[in-house]
């Protein structure tokens, strides 16, 4: 058998939930597999329902021809973002690197197989979007065997180009980071720069669509296709292939995807060993001289340990820090350009009075801070090191308190900074500012306690790669989903009710409700600690 196939097969088998279910004798583990499968099925169903609903909406507006472009853009954007955030840990710097490289595999084969593994594992997500959008498209455009076959076939190629590009970017960042002693910090900073650049470019792209062409987008699907094609060619090839049954466009998409993969992985393979050597080996300075030592409380000691854990991992640091970076950026931009101008830029000059958005300031800030998976600092990240805290004379209660304290240390200063900056730029009165600070604080506390519950309830210590507990997993999924819905409801609710009642009374009520929820969550954490 071809060695690439052997390796790929083994990589898939070694993370297969079915394999775990089949061979484990641990009933709890079997239960976890069943729970995860049910959870994932629900998430797939929700994603598909959302995509179908979106297509039906477009279809009713007579824009079904724009569906393929939307499908291609959505899949490409998701594939790019998720791959970019996962490269470090999946593609490079992975746990079993030593074992794999010492085996008679060509170095390029290992790099390519790790990429293909990532591709195959994420394919069900992209296919579920694609199939759902195909269903939505077929309802209005009519069912055609040729379109269906082309759509499904090309859907396999759609994530390839963004994934290869994201991997290459991840590779460049890792390569630059490997030249520095503080590899993790450099990698994280570069990642943040890219995320911020992507965040800013979103507005540029949106302005391309919205400046005078918003009507075209809504009324003429062809114009929308052309606009999208101008930005991202593969989306155009996909749309042409399925809308016009263009074999040329289909072939272009397939050939470019495969060529790009081959070229990028020829380059990555060439530097793969030197990159991993640099990432995985660190010199010890051996120059420590004993100085004064500080004593701190157990809870603080756990919080500090968690801080070091975070700064020692690019995946963790990127994930935990992105919200703080975005909120700081928002705060500075707000101070520089003013709240009103920021609102008009974000809403593309929509006729919205910025004053009505003021009650939503704490929620906007919290939306950025809470979108990180707070349960990342839950026990799952201890992984195989969990024995350390288990064997120490620390109660679970203290352990969880320390972890929650760390999350508060991480989020509250940024929340306070952003609230002050935005309130100053929005000319919010001092009493309102204080109210927003309190509201921001209780929101951070709720996020912390709720994240801790999700983390404890779905604790997973046997992970192969920390990406599995930082970005994936049932705990992270449940936390992020519930947090997102709650924040959106609170945000919209505060704006809506703020126009109908005194906003201070409203803020007071929200603070009381969130405080109550926080106390309940905290009590549940303490109960789980028993």
């Amino acid at each position: 058998m071809n060695k690439a196939i052997i390796l790929l097969k083994n990589l898939l088998l070694s993370t297969s939930q079915f394999n775990i279910f089949r061979y484990t004798t641990d009933k709890k583990k079997k239960g976890n597999v069943i729970g995860n499968t049910i959870g994932m099925t629900i998430l797939f169903a929700m994603l598909m329902a959302y995509c179908i609903a979106q297509c039906i909406g477009y279809g009713k507006l007579g824009l079904s021809e724009a569906t393929p472009v939307l499908c291609a853009l959505l899949i490409s954007a998701l594939a790019f973002v998720f791959t970019f955030l996962k490269t470090n840990g999946y593609l490079f710097n992975f746990k079993e690197y030593d074992m794999l490289i010492s085996l008679p595999f060509d170095i390029k084969t290992v790099a390519a197989c790790k990429f293909l593994y990532m591709y195959i594992k994420s394919l069900p997500w992209y296919l579920s979007i694609s199939v759902a959008m195909l269903i939505g498209y077929s309802i209005f455009a009519g069912f055609s065997i040729a379109t269906t076959i082309l759509w499904l076939l090309l859907s396999l190629c759609l994530p390839l180009i963004p994934m290869v590009l994201a991997s290459f970017l991840g590779f460049i960042i890792a390569k630059i980071g490997s030249y520095f002693k503080k590899t993790n910090i450099v990698q994280t900073i570069l990642t943040f720069i890219l995320i911020i650049a992507a965040f800013m470019s979103r507005f540029v792209i949106e302005s391309v669509f919205k400046n005078g062409q918003v009507r075209d987008v809504l009324e003429q699907s062809k114009a929308a296709t052309e606009d999208a094609a101008a930005i991202y060619l593969p989306a155009d090839w996909f749309a042409k292939a399925v809308n016009e049954l263009s074999v040329t466009a289909a072939m272009l998409l397939i050939i470019v995807s495969i060529l790009l993969f081959a070229v990028v992985f020829a380059i990555v393979g060439r530097y793969y060993r030197s990159l991993n050597s640099a990432l995985r080996s660190h010199a010890a300075s051996g120059e420590y001289t004993m100085g004064a030592q500080k004593k701190s409380s157990v809870v603080n000691a756990i919080a500090f340990k968690e801080f070091r854990r975070m700064t020692g991992s690019t995946v963790y640091l990127t994930n935990a820090g992105v919200g703080e970076i975005l909120v700081s950026l928002l705060a500075v931009l707000s101070l520089v350009f003013g709240f009103d101008r920021l609102v008009s830029t974000v809403t593309q000059n929509a006729p919205i009075d910025p004053a009505i958005l003021r009650p939503a300031i704490p929620f906007i800030i919290y939306f950025c801070l809470g979108m990180i998976s707070t349960c990342a600092c839950s026990p799952s990240l201890e992984g195989k090191n969990y024995w350390i805290v288990q064997s120490l004379p620390i109660s679970k209660k203290t352990l969880y308190q320390g972890k929650m304290l760390f999350n508060m240390y991480l989020t509250v200063p940024f929340m306070a900074f952003a609230t002050l900056c935005i309130c100053i730029s929005a000319k919010v009165s001092l009493p309102d500012m204080l109210l927003y600070l309190i509201l921001g604080f209780v929101l951070c506390a709720l996020s912390t306690t709720w994240g801790c519950i999700c983390g404890i309830r779905h604790m997973r210590l046997d992970w192969e790669n920390e990406v599995e507990v930082v970005k994936q997993g049932a705990g992270v999924g449940i936390y992020l989903f519930t947090n997102m819905i709650t924040t959106m409801v609170l945000c919209v609710g505060s704006v809506f009710l703020g126009m109908r009642m005194d906003h201070r009374i409203l803020a007071g009520i929200v603070i009381a409700v969130i405080s109550l929820l926080t106390v309940l969550c905290y009590k549940l954490v303490m109960r789980l600690a028993k």
């Binding site: 390796l7 775990i20 484990t24 004798t25 030593d98 085996l103 008679p104 030197s274 050597s277 010199a283």
Partner: protein
């Protein structure tokens, strides 16, 4: 079988983790590599098995350069790291079959060898269980079996006795003798000087990345114990 010539490795700073290391392991040798923690043993071993990139010096396995002909080298080498990271969600037998597939071992041979070594290390009954349920010692045994499955010409072991029970330690020593008699070269690091003294015919002592003593056991100990020779060399 293994020739390390003037190998050096630094991690960016001035300090070298391995500094001009030269040593030769012949077929049939059991070569012990000893030194303090952080002396450069693992840095050297990881470069030998192709895991660690290096720029200075040359490492040859069976006449092939690790740098320019890595595949030729890996085909004849087996490596057991000090803390083997195995695929936790595979069963023991799935993992062994993966390694056997990589080395293209026939079904008959793999069955015979797995049965033989799993029996020796008394883990036959556990081969159907997930590796995540194994103890550290069992994982170490599985890693050893996976290294033996393709009958390598060179075995490179990093602290192979850590975590093994006395019976398994004895079995491994016997296997090492058996392999050595067949012409396999064995290069291993250890902190257990008693084991090294009884097992090895050649030894090298590494300190701060430099080989400070090497040769046959007799040359190195000169009638003293290896422990005494080691402490003397370390002074």
């Amino acid at each position: 079988m293994l020739k390390i010539n003037n190998y050096s490795k630094s991690y960016g700073g001035d300090k070298k983790a391995a500094d001009n290391v030269t040593l030769h392991v012949e077929s049939g040798d059991i070569y012990g590599f000893i030194g303090h923690n952080g002396a450069g043993k693992s840095t050297t071993i990881r470069a030998v098995v192709g895991v660690l990139d290096f720029t200075e010096g040359e490492i040859l396995i069976d006449g092939h350069s690790v740098k320019t002909e890595p595949m030729e080298c890996k085909k004849v080498t087996a490596y057991i790291p000090d803390n083997p990271d195995l695929y936790e969600n595979l069963t023991g037998i799935q993992y062994l079959n993966f390694i056997a597939d990589v080395f293209d071992i026939s079904e008959k041979e793999r069955k015979e060898r797995i049965a033989k070594y799993a029996g020796t290390f008394e883990i036959t009954d556990s081969l159907g269980d997930l590796i995540s349920s194994y103890s550290h010692g069992m994982k170490q045994k599985l890693a050893i079996i996976s290294a033996l499955i393709h009958e390598p010409k060179l075995m490179v072991l990093d602290e192979p006795f850590v975590g093994l029970d006395p019976k398994a330690t004895f079995a491994l020593k016997e296997i090492m003798h058996e392999m050595c008699a067949k012409g396999t070269a064995i290069f291993f690091s250890t902190h257990v000087l008693d084991v090294a003294e009884k097992l090895c015919n050649k030894v090298a002592i590494i300190k701060k990345g430099r080989i400070i003593a090497s040769g046959t056991m007799e040359e190195l100990t000169e009638g003293h114990s290896l422990e005494e020779a080691f402490l003397e060399a370390e002074k």
